[in-house]
């Protein structure tokens, strides 16, 4: 457009056009600057601290931020006042819904009213069974303070869990401190834990030993080429690594090895020629006898 300017024939027109172009450029520049700063600001202030959990059915965080229009209808429909909208200055992306499990956990309503209320689908409407929700994953973070780890029977997180015996089980382990008791270790299973946060809320300690973390913090991820040999074997119905032939052990005469069974076996009747008896004491005594 600029090169079309007629230099002298119509000075007022070209001057006004120049003024117009200049002011448009100024406006566009200003707007671009403002856009840039808003963009930067929003990049900076997108945040979801580990203790803040999204409502059930929330899309993956990146998609959620584009889908949620910050209307608060999910907040309003939660009968337990679990959810709130982040205010400016709070550490969660402004205007988006979240909850802090230690304050008010999700009660896992059967009809999932928060998801139903969401007009945009930022809370995915295909979530129909609350047991399929994955708001996060409980992790028993502090073994040094968890009472059960010390051998006491607190069990509160286990008992309070809506998916008791599925999401949290108590695994028995020998108590080496007393030497005669068992530890009942609360153990979370990610295939059932919804991340509702009731265990974190319930933990009797001053600061919860068990906490719900966002999945990306709580879960490890295998290298994509990794395969668990035993699972692959089960799937295939045979070993995939080496052929399932009987393993040959080069053992002294009179001994054999029972693979995946008893282990090393001494054929007792042939013990005469063998260097070692199956009874270590016997072997030792034999050594004594032979001494000069």
């Amino acid at each position: 457009m600029i090169q079309q300017q007629s230099p002298s024939s119509q000075p007022p027109a070209s001057a006004s056009r120049r003024r117009f172009l200049l002011s448009s450029a100024r406006t566009a520049g200003g707007a671009a600057l403002m856009g840039l700063s808003i963009g930067l600001y929003s990049r900076q202030s997108i945040s979801l601290p580990a203790e803040a959990l999204r409502p059930p059915g929330a899309l993956a965080e990146k998609d959620f931020l584009g889908a949620c229009i910050r209307c608060g209808l999910c907040v309003r429909n939660c009968p337990f006042d679990t959810l709130s909208l982040a205010e400016l200055g709070e550490p969660v992306t402004t205007g988006t819904p979240y909850f802090i499990a230690r304050d008010v956990p999700c009660e896992m309503c059967d009809d999932i009213p928060c998801v139903k209320a969401c007009p945009t689908g930022a809370l995915n409407h295909s979530l129909e069974n609350i047991d399929d929700a994955r708001m996060g994953l409980a992790v028993l973070l502090d073994e040094e303070t968890c009472l059960n780890f010390q051998g006491l029977r607190c069990d509160v997180c286990y008992r309070i869990c809506p998916a008791i015996e599925k999401a949290i089980t108590l695994e028995h382990v020998a108590n080496v401190r007393t030497g005669k008791h068992a530890l009942f270790i609360p153990t979370v299973h990610s295939d059932h834990c919804t991340g509702c946060g009731k265990c974190e809320r319930g933990c009797v300690l001053e600061e919860a030993a068990i906490k719900v973390l966002p999945l990306n913090l709580a879960k490890g991820e295998l290298g994509h080429h990794y395969r668990w040999g035993w699972k692959e074997k089960e799937k295939a119905g045979r070993s995939l690594v080496s052929p399932d032939i009987k393993h040959e052990y080069n053992l002294p005469e009179g001994q054999h090895y029972d693979y995946e069974g008893e282990g090393l076996i001494f054929d007792d009747n042939t013990s005469n020629g063998a260097p070692f008896s199956s009874d270590p004491l016997k072997t030792l005594n034999q050594g004594m006898k032979e001494a000069p």
């Binding site: 002011s23 448009s24 100024r26 406006t27 566009a28 200003g30 707007a31 671009a32 403002m34 856009g35 808003i38 963009g39 600001y41 929003s42 990049r43 202030s45 997108i46 990146k62 998609d63 931020l65 584009g66 889908a67 949620c68 229009i69 910050r70 209307c71 608060g72 209808l73 907040v75 309003r76 429909n77 709130s84 909208l85 982040a86 205010e87 400016l88 200055g89 709070e90 992306t93 402004t94 205007g95 209320a117 969401c118 007009p119 945009t120 689908g121 930022a122 409407h125």
Partner: protein, 305 residues
Amino acid sequence: MIMPLHPGAEAIQNKGWLLAHKWLLARRFSQLAILILFMIGPGLGIWLVKGNLSSNLVLDTLPLTDPYVLLQSIFAGHTPETTAMIGAAIVLGFYLLVSGRVYCSWVCPVNMVTDLAHWLRERFNIKSASTISNNSRYWLLAITLLLAFTTGNVAWEMVNPVSMMHRGLIFGIGMAWTILLGVFLFDLLVSRRAWCSHLCPVGAFYSLLGTHSPLRIRADAREQCNDCMDCFLVCPEQQVIRPALKGADKGIGPVVTSANCTNCGRCIDVCSKDVFHFGLRFNNKPVHNKNIHNHTDHSTGAEVL
């Protein structure tokens, strides 16, 4: 020429205070009523409306969604559920009919803040030289959509003073008052009607909705205009009045056709000659009148105080 005391003084003398503030009062009533409807839910437990202006549910049945916010979400790459689409369609339909910027003058809570800033600015005669193009808002509108597209986040809604204020009043305001204070001070000290009439992309979006709306301000009685300039002084979008009011000899009809007009009706209030009224955009022919250039002064004399 002696300036009148303040715009509308003559109208008050002629029509009485109440009639000279009729539309202003109606507007404030509407803005406050809408806000109160939203606030009595969390405040008193009376749930007539749930949610906020971005999206809400009226009487547990009627979904309403702000089409601009939803558009940002779509630009961010999300395909919204039907509820939001239906809600946005209803709102779109409404503003296509009554003119988009009815949102600004009758619904938006920020308007009360900027009106206050403007009133104080006039009251204390604050002048400042800086001018902002009133097209800036369209640039900003484009940029907010571009931002949504590039960041995949409805980024503008993290700072948008309109949603900040409305959401804040209903769900807790946090530090968002600082943004509102910024808008207020900007309007008060930096530039006249800077936010609503020059920068706000929400207003820009609703302006675009109103380009063909039937509901319009008309200056049908424009030959009675006595050039007191009161309408011009109170109008938040000054540029929209001139063609309709003064365009008779250029063949321009009496309808305020600009989509920037907020349908606030303040021009109707302050005109002592009852030049303006609400009407439809159709039948916009310049009526030829012999007396166009003949400003016989029938005024009460109040203007030469």
